[in-house]
Each structure stands twice: as structure tokens, then as C-alpha cells.
């Protein structure tokens, strides 16, 4: 579903992402881990077509992000770090606008909006102006925006940042539901970045850890925790160990 080949991003002299490769199958839920500034957001932005890679390429659902950018973007639902909301619009008119620009046909639009309102628990606030909603609700509107066109691929950048424990629980359940849907709904491939390791353990089946722009771990969660080590130990070992090794070399 998602294929990244030697993805690299250079900002001037700084290499933010350095030759990241991975390939995800349909229905996989992958936790994207790494310390702040490791290049998680940049990688996600390249996959969504917001930033062009300096080198390498990627394809979404078989569409290359350079050759078929419009097709590739149609297959992605994206929740950026801060949800892209228009504060002056109502929840419903916002979602209907997003459905329009995501190419949901006129006949299916109303139903698509209703479904995403329902799935994200927004039915009660559908006519509220987004600017007056609490942070938790705004995050849900952001998520509803990402799934309104039922994309085969979902890219979520820290979907639970800043939420309270109850809201985090709800969002996690929703993501789990998206990856293993009821009959008749499309199964979605999900990449989510987070700092909360417990979250990865709760919903992801595979972990990709990047550090200083490079992929350092890519394995199923079960394999990583098989030897009794916690994800936290792994995270610390991979990121701390490597940076000290790098400093020694320097």
C-alpha cells in the first residue's frame, strides 16, 4: 500500500531524512517512532505530497508521488500535527468542504460526512463553529477530516497529542477499528507517529524507529518484545547508543 524507496530530504546542508526505505501491506498499523527532530514529520509530509523528497520516491496504493501526484493524494487521509481547521466554519460544512476537494462524488458526499461524524463522535457538535470547540473535539474533527473520503492509507502525525486519557482511549479505539473494520468497509493502512510507547503497544503491529533521519529498527512488535525487553528499553538503546557512537566517531 505504501512503498518508500530511499526517501531523503535535505534542508540546505542538513540532511533531515536520509534514505528511508519501507513497504507496508494493506491493513497494517505501523507505529512511527523516534525522538523529536528525528525526521518523522518530514517523512510523513513527503508521503502525503506536501513536501517533495530531495532524493528517492514513494508510491501510495501503486501511484507514484511524482508521476501521479493527484491520484496518490486522493488515496491518502492525513492528519498533520496541528489539525488543519478553519475556525470560522461549522463542523458539518467543514467536513463537506473537505469531502468536495477530496473528490467524493456529489451523491455520496452527505453520507460520507454523516459516517465520519458518527465514527468520530461528532454528531452532537455537527452544527457548532469549530473555533468554539475544545481541543479534544478539534482533534476529532481533524481525524474526521482525514477519514471522510475513506482513503486506503491514513497518515496520522501524533493523533493523541494533548488529549486527556479518556480521549486518548477513544482515538485509539477508533484507529484500531479503522484497521480492522466491520464487513463492507474498506480496510485501511495506518501510519501513526507518537511519543507514547504504550500507544504503540496498544494498537500497532509493527514498529519503525527512525533516528537522525535514518531507519534503525523495522520489525513486528511481537518480535521486538519477544525477548522480554520493553519498547522503552529498545527506544533508549537505539537512540542513545547511536548518538554516543556518532559522537565518538566525531
Amino acid at each position: 500500500m505504501i512503498e518508500a524507496r530511499q526517501l531523503s530530504k535535505r534542508y540546505g546542508d542538513m540532511l533531515a531524512v536520509d534514505g528511508v526505505d519501507f513497504s507496508l501491506e494493506r491493513g497494517e498499523v505501523v507505529g512511527f517512532l523516534g525522538p523529536n527532530g528525528a525526521g518523522k514529520t518530514t517523512t510523513m509530509r513527503m508521503l502525503t505530497g506536501f513536501l517533495p523528497p530531495s532524493e528517492g520516491t514513494a508510491s501510495i496504493a501503486g501511484f507514484d508521488i511524482f508521476n501521479d501526484p493527484i491520484e496518490a493524494r486522493r488515496c491518502v487521509g492525513y492528519l498533520p500535527e496541528s489539525p488543519p481547521l478553519y475556525p470560522e466554519m461549522s463542523v458539518k460544512s467543514y467536513l463537506s468542504y473537505v469531502a468536495k476537494i477530496k473528490d467524493v462524488s456529489r451523491g455520496e458526499r452527505r453520507q460520507a460526512v454523516e459516517r465520519s461524524l458518527e465514527r468520530c463522535g461528532l454528531v452532537d457538535v455537527r452544527n457548532r463553529v469549530i473555533g468554539t470547540l475544545s481541543k479534544g473535539y478539534r482533534q476529532r474533527v481533524g481525524l474526521a477530516q482525514a477519514i471522510v473520503h475513506e482513503p486506503p492509507v491514513l497518515i496520522l502525525d501524533e493523533p493523541t497529542a494533548g488529549l486527556d486519557p479518556l480521549q486518548i482511549q477513544e482515538i485509539r479505539e477508533l484507529i484500531a477499528e479503522l484497521a480492522a473494520p466491520a464487513k463492507g468497509e474498506t480496510q485501511q493502512t495506518v501510519i501513526l507517529s507518537t511519543h507514547i510507547l504504550a500507544e504503540v503497544e496498544a494498537i500497532c503491529r509493527r514498529v519503525i524507529l527512525i533516528h537522525q533521519g535514518c531507519k534503525v529498527v523495522d520489525a513486528p512488535l511481537s518480535e521486538l518484545t519477544a525477548e522480554g525487553q520493553s519498547l522503552e528499553e529498545l527506544f533508549v538503546r537505539e537512540t542513545m547508543g547511536r548518538s554516543s557512537a556518532r559522537e565518538e566517531r566525531a
Partner: protein, 261 residues
């Protein structure tokens, strides 16, 4: 280009659900009314004076189109020069500040969908403002007999000038994430536009008459003047299309370049 109307529609709706549109519309109506009354009073004063001095030749020359409507349109074009940057400053800058730029650029939209949608949204609002201006000469038809064709072609000139300002303002907004900076850039662009005739004279004085001709063509003055005299010529319409098109191209380049920074 299928999404131009979607983007334009959202832009207009956002204007009308926030107080901005209503503030601008009411302010503009009040200003238009004040300028209209002042122009009528001035016109009346001129007539009285010419009668007093028995200057019948000049009295004969006075007419509603030249001495009232044209003046009124001129005043309103100055008001538009300050109001339009206030409307266009948010077109792109607010998307960047809100983070909604990420939504637009990761949706299956082309750069033209975004640029034309934004322009048409702003241009529609400017058309509403021009419509308000048009109401006032309408009153004159009740009490006098201005020429219909000239009144309308002059209004067309005002509308097209407003759209040039909209294209400039949209471009200014695409360059920055700060609305105030966008407002200032747009204002400077418009002032440069106003100074073009003076620059053209400078070119002629320096002996480079082609520079003078070039600047005179770029300036909107000559084109508006012909429209105010009632001459709707293809060459002038082409001029407006070229200027608006150029700024649309520049805006598109700015939107696309944001991906590469």
C-alpha cells in the same frame, strides 16, 4: 480545474460567516454615500456659480457623466485601493497561519484550482462592492438623464481595476504568512501602479520614448479613461486580462514554490 468553484465558494462563505464581510460592506456603503453626496453638492455648486457668472458656454459643457459620475468613480477607486488589500490579505496568508495549507496541498487539487478559486472568491466580493457603487448613479437616472452606456462602461472600468487590485492582493498574500505584511505588499504594488504615468513621463524626459510608451501601457489610467468615455475596446480588455493573468501566474509560482522550500 474541477475544484475552482469549491475553493471559491469556501472563501466567500468564510467571508460571510465572519464579521469581516459585513464590516467592509457597511463601511464601504457609508463611504460611497458620503462621496456621492459630496460630488452631487460640488456639481450643484458649480452649476450655481456658472449661472451667477453667466458663463453659458461652460454651463453648456457641464454634464452628469463627466462632472459627477466620473468623479465619483474616481473617488471610489481610491477607496477600493485601501479596502481590497484588506479583503485579499488573508487569502493565502491565513491558510499558512492556520495550518490549513497542509490540507489544501495534500488534497487532489492542482495549483490552478487553488489560485483561481481564491481569485474568484475575492473577485466576486469585489463585484458586490462595485454593485453598491453602481446603485448611486442609478439615483441620477431618476432626476436627470446621464448616458446609460457611459455610466455602465465606467462601472466596468472600476470593476476591472478592482479585479487587478484583487490579483495583486492575492499575489501579495501568497508570499507571506503574515496578513499585515500581505496588506502592505499589496498596497505598495498598487502605489507603484499609480506612479506608472509619472515614471512614463520620466522615461520620455530621459529621451527613451519606448520606456515611456511601455509604462503608459502598463498603467491603468489610459485604459480606464477610454472606458469612462464610453469606449469599450478589445485592446483595453486584453490589457486587463494580461495584467490579471500575469499576477495569477506569479501567484501560482509562489504557491508551488512553497512545496520546494
Amino acid at each position: 480545474m474541477r475544484h475552482v468553484t469549491d475553493v471559491a465558494g469556501r472563501e466567500l462563505r468564510s467571508l460571510f460567516v465572519s464579521p469581516v464581510a459585513y464590516a467592509v460592506l457597511s463601511l464601504f456603503s457609508v463611504l460611497a454615500g458620503v462621496f456621492f453626496i459630496l460630488n452631487v453638492a460640488w456639481f450643484n455648486d458649480m452649476l450655481l456659480r456658472l449661472q451667477q457668472f453667466q458663463a453659458f458656454d461652460q454651463l453648456e459643457m457641464m454634464n452628469l457623466n463627466d462632472h459627477l459620475i466620473t468623479e465619483f468613480y474616481g473617488s471610489m477607486s481610491v477607496v477600493l485601493m485601501f479596502l481590497i488589500p484588506a479583503i485579499t490579505m488573508g487569502l493565502f496568508a491565513s491558510e499558512k497561519a492556520n495550518g490549513t495549507e497542509e490540507l489544501l496541498l495534500t488534497s487532489p487539487l492542482t495549483a490552478w484550482d487553488i489560485v483561481l478559486g481564491k481569485f474568484i472568491g475575492g473577485a466576486t466580493f469585489v463585484a458586490i462592492l462595485t454593485g453598491i457603487v453602481g446603485l448611486f448613479p442609478g439615483i441620477l437616472f431618476v432626476y436627470g438623464d446621464p448616458e446609460v452606456g457611459r455610466t455602465l462602461s465606467g462601472l466596468l472600468g472600476l470593476l476591472l481595476t478592482g479585479w487587478v487590485y484583487t490579483a495583486m492582493g492575492a499575489f501579495a498574500s501568497s508570499l507571506t504568512r503574515s496578513q499585515i505584511v500581505a496588506f502592505l505588499i499589496a498596497l505598495v504594488l498598487m502605489l507603484v501602479m499609480l506612479l506608472l504615468p509619472a515614471m512614463s513621463d520620466l522615461g520620455v524626459a530621459a529621451g527613451a520614448s519606448w520606456v515611456g510608451d511601455f509604462f503608459r501601457y502598463l498603467s491603468a489610467n489610459a485604459h480606464v479613461e477610454r472606458l469612462l468615455r464610453g469606449l469599450v475596446e478589445t485592446s483595453d480588455l486584453v490589457y486587463y486580462a494580461v495584467v490579471i493573468g500575469t499576477f495569477a501566474l506569479l501567484t501560482k509560482a509562489a504557491v508551488e514554490s512553497s512545496r520546494w522550500r
